[in-house]
Homo-oligomer: 257 residues x 2
């Protein structure tokens, strides 16, 4: 199952969701491949891998046609999670892709070739906060889309653009793409704003919204500094428990997991 985690609004918890879902799915016995399509390389660092190396990464897969298998690395925390790391040159990929042939399909093709040789239960693709060619590659490669939505007012604004983009991709580039889950992040039961936003999202998206919401929890934001997932960094924290519950719920919704 290939899942893209996208939302062009910045700072809504895309990377935190990819890293912690990967760790929680590994605990459930699944094999996971994380693809870090964000030039900032936060998912790479969050999984304890350096993105400041000269090793081949996802840039080389997209632009230089390097086989993905040559870029996959393990992560320190668990051998059930593998990673295609971001690298610094990824920042230039958006502009370089514009004039390339089959520019929206490059990730999809590379991933299909990799999965033929290395069957994997779940692929999680982390996206940058934009709807450019890197995110488009992720939407074309994906079977499902998981949208993290922060419980804040500005986070509601861009959803229309995101849904229109998904419709465009489904119509012209990837007919099987579907929004499978919406995950509410950084909820805060003490503020009205958070509850109001959560209510609006549930009213609009209905059953697509996972029952599990992720509370704001400082332990989750401390974990990347230690190169570990929140799930492993502080197992009993509210954030860790919530991502484990979200992973459970996610596997139940996804047909072949």
């Amino acid at each position: 199952m290939i899942v893209t985690v996208a939302n062009q609004k910045g700072g809504v918890g895309k990377t935190t969701t990819v890293v912690n879902l990967a760790a929680a799915l590994a605990e459930l016995g699944k094999t996971v491949l994380v693809v870090d399509l964000d030039p900032q390389g936060n998912a790479t660092t969050g999984l304890g891998v350096s993105s400041r190396t000269d090793n081949a990464g996802v840039y080389d897969v997209l632009i230089e046609d390097v086989p993905m298998a040559q870029t996959v690395v393990g992560v320190p925390e668990t051998e059930k999670v593998q990673l295609v790391p971001a690298s610094l040159d990824l920042a230039g990929a958006e502009i370089e892709l514009v004039s390339m042939v089959a520019r929206e399909y490059r990730l999809r093709k590379a991933l299909a070739a990799y999965l033929e040789e290395h069957p994997t239960d779940v692929v999680l693709i982390d996206c940058p906060p934009s709807l450019g060619l890197l995110t488009l590659n992720a939407l074309v490669a994906a079977e499902e889309l998981l949208i993290p939505i922060q419980c804040e007012y500005y986070a509601l604004e861009g959803l229309g653009q995101l849904i229109r983009t998904v419709d465009m991709v489904r119509e012209h580039l990837n007919p099987t793409l579907r929004i499978s889950s919406i995950l509410l992040t950084m909820t805060d039961s003490r503020t009205n704003l958070s509850e109001q936003v959560a209510d609006e999202v549930r009213a609009f998206f209905g059953d697509l919204v996972l029952d599990t919401a992720i509370p704001r929890s400082v332990r989750l934001s401390e974990a990347p500094g230690h190169g570990r997932s929140g799930v492993a960094y502080d197992e009993g924290s509210r954030g860790a428990l919530a991502y484990r519950a979200a992973a459970e719920e996610f596997t139940q919704r996804t047909v072949d997991l």
Copy 2:
């Protein structure tokens, strides 16, 4: 004075800083023009203006050569702040700009023409969370760069890329560009992480860091839902007081204000 507010990390408080600095500078008697370069249009909404209209906006200025004066609108909260709004079609501008002549200078030229007819004390440019051609246009148009930095681990990661981009812009496109201020946002004195990040930022950037830091304050995130700045929405809140102090400090640092 033309100030660009940029940081490719998402959700660090770029828009909140533009909207609240604009409101606080207006209170100090300055005339302000806000340019919303983010396709999400959060600064447009945060100032109480709809971005879902067919009126000409910054897209038309960049791509269709429409004079900026034809796109400028007032904002409900104060007549001292004017806005060049974002519009939905801005999402396509990045790709369209790639093949245009003088693609990095389009905003700079349009703004220079506007300011000749409409002298303004401060121009604040809000950027999307990326280092693409929209942010490049903002860096080329700017005299100063203000970088909001959220007190979180991931927020430190992308700073190297941002500084390299600024150096590249200064060398090839805009020799007068300089980083004038760093603003710490969403600080939380109760957590070690926030204090550690603040210490690291001050150690690295020294005097560039404004003494005023903006605390995490839910009133700031509630304000956009009412189409008002945090400064006006809840005048006595910690967030409002902090942005007023930041505006004071900013005017003292900036030579012609």
